[in-house]
Amino acid sequence: MADILSNSGTDLLLGNEAITRGLIEAGVKFASTYPGTPSSEIGNNLEKISQEVGMYFEFSVNEKVAMETAAAAASSGVRSIVFMKHVGLNVAADPMMTLAYSGVRGAMLILTADDPSLHSSQNEQDNRIYSKLALLPMMEPSTPAEAKDMVAEACRVSEELELPLIFRTTTRVNHARGIVEFGTPEETSAKGRFEKDTARFVNIPAFAKKNRVKLLDLNRKAMALSEVSPLNFIEGEGDTGVITSGVSYTYVKEYIKDVQILKLGFTNPLPEKKIAEFIKGKSRIIVVEELEPFLEDQVLRISAQNKLSVPVYGKRSGHLPVEWEYSPDVVVRLKDLVKMDEPPVPLKPVDIKLPGRPPTLCAGCPHRGIFAATKKAMGKREAVYCSDIGCYTLGVQSPFDMADFIICMGGGAGAAGGFAQVTDQKPVAFIGDSTFFHSGIPPLISAKFNGHKLVMVIVDNRTTAMTGHQPNPGTGRDFGGVTTEALDIESVVKGIGVDFLATVNPYDVKAASKVMKEAIDTDGVAVVISKMACPLELKKQRTLVIRETKVDQSKCIKCYTCLKTIACPALVKRGDEVHVDEVQCIGCGMCADVCPKDAIGVRQ
């Protein structure tokens, strides 16, 4: 990590580091999140440095709670941010929609990190549309450097309007790297006071009705700010005009020639007068933006209202795609409309069959053990494996095939109840420790309440692994000067009063399989907690004990049960012999446990 605490000079920063630096410079003093790619590094940075810069930071239990805590801070006059990945805003949408009616006193940024091309996500939703739904101002940076500076500008606008502001990034901004110049942090207070104002902060129908009108008024004021915002600027010359925002701007700027560009950074409300003036006199307008035609449809509407008949090209004309992220190769599709350099001729693809390299569960990952145990316990019975969001999602791969239904955080547990009701298949819901706290508890209670017969397997690897090992309620908190005790998952589940509850060690596959069988046979709600720390996390903490593991070739009968059930990357087949890759193996013993001939030895 670069030294983002420096108050001068320049450095090569990841977009998320630049945003973190922006928060410091803008004097943001309250930050909350639930981890999610591509926003996660902001939290990882703040976990390390927030205390030093006098900021409070927390990993909230989910995005909804994160939104509510930040809303309270901002309503008390403290500059705040809540940040999350795009789908996280769905979870937090409920408080956001009415918070817009109340507004805030100190600045509040709602950062949503969208993921065009779904690099690490389950869908490709365009969260810019939330700004229209919630009637909130929105800004979109194009580069890490612009993102850093935009944080302060966003805080100013949020405070001027007394409204939360949506700060919308995408993967190619969060995970781009560029040169960023450091500035001087603004002095602000981390302490606030909540001045009561019932008509504003208590949205009962009588008050909310008036607050809605006030919000519409504020949107007119916001448009006036957008019209004069330095974030919406024109550059270049040409009678073809390109209107663009976000990372798309960088492709337009570098790869398209002889056009005039209207670069939009303040994208809700749009500067309608500025756009109409820009269109006037052009021979054609091209709108370049990723995902939904958010700008384009408004440009078409603004054209119509201003009785302009300049043709508008983009997604609606079929020139540019709606799906997936843009790149210089996508911009080439405009070559009949604009001037650009002849793209180089790529070398022909190699015509050798190349093995795929999908992401996989790590060597010694305890999820491998519980998947193997579940498969054995289920036997020939038909199951529906409802999985969830986390590393264990990778259980979809062979030989596990342990994911039949995945929609969202906590979604597997809820769906399991429905499958239990309408099918004769046995629903098994896998859910991680962090995801359980995030949104797994209500569906478990609902299953108990409604009498759904299902198995929930809580794969408790003692961390929020997929997003980079953040702490969660199950680990307790120990950063930023705050220490809290770990919450015991078994006690939480016991409190719900399920019909079967057991904790297993997934490295002991045989024993875990016996317990899984009991759980599957339970005529009610069964919960199995598969508890084993993520080896990557232990490696980070320097507490991982590696035990030497060897295959005794004289005992091995080449049945390959180890490869077929655990499929650990540390097991390597050379010729017809199975060997252990010493570099990768951690000595967890799962392969030894499933070996029918005790041919794999683990040194104790």
Binding site: T37, S120, A176, P343, P349, I352
Partner: protein
């Protein structure tokens, strides 16, 4: 001036570190820099691609297909998979040490013949240089220094716009203090390997 490096490999091979070293060197040489990295789910043993662009006026974090000036392939299959990032003038540096995907390691899929892969790339370009970066790193002291070997080799590539001293300096700043000597040695051996190719 505008120069694009595409770095391809497998999570854990040090692709991100190599990109940081090259990017910091470009920044210190006074160029504008735009990079794009792969994080998150894809890192779990998956293919990794890192784009590094620098020059007088550079802002886009991505390059067009075939637009690379240099393709650094940390792994043979990944080099082949991404060969279309290069054009006929692109310099390609291809490490020949394989990293087996899990399905290959477990014997369910085959790893292609490395000679055949090299031949396939050679059929497409005259600008291929192959290197046994891991073997060289082991002779320098440790296999983990393979990325230092790769950076050293790049420093000797014909027309490469960043200086050897600057790259070596940035490498030293980006690795833990106790590994500085190892990495510098590996860098020099990579540099030497590439210099010999030209002769």
């Amino acid at each position: 001036m505008r120069y694009t490096i595409q770095i391809v490999g497998v999570g854990g091979q040090g692709v991100l570190l190599a990109s940081m070293v090259l990017g910091s060197a470009a920044m210190n040489a006074g160029y504008k820099v735009a990079m794009s990295e792969v994080h998150g789910m894809a890192q779990r043993g998956g293919s990794v691609l890192c784009t590094l662009r620098f020059g007088d006026e550079v802002i886009s974090p991505l390059e067009s297909a075939g637009g690379a000036d240099l393709l650094m392939g940390f792994e043979p299959v990944e080099t082949c998979r991404n060969v279309s990032l290069a054009n006929k003038d692109t310099k390609i540096l291809m490490n020949l040490d394989p990293v087996y995907p899990s399905m290959v390691a477990a014997g369910f899929e085959d790893y292609p013949n490395i000679e055949e892969m090299v031949t396939a790339v050679k059929e497409r370009t005259e600008n291929l240089v192959t290197i046994d970066a891991t073997s060289i790193a082991i002779s320098a002291g440790k296999a983990v220094a393979a990325n230092a070997v790769m950076i050293g080799a790049v420093a000797a590539a014909k027309g490469f716009p960043l200086s050897k001293d600057l790259l070596k300096d940035m490498l030293a700043k980006n690795v833990p203090p106790k590994f500085v000597d190892l990495n510098k040695k590996a860098f020099d051996m990579g540099y030497e390997h590439m210099s010999k190719q030209k002769g």
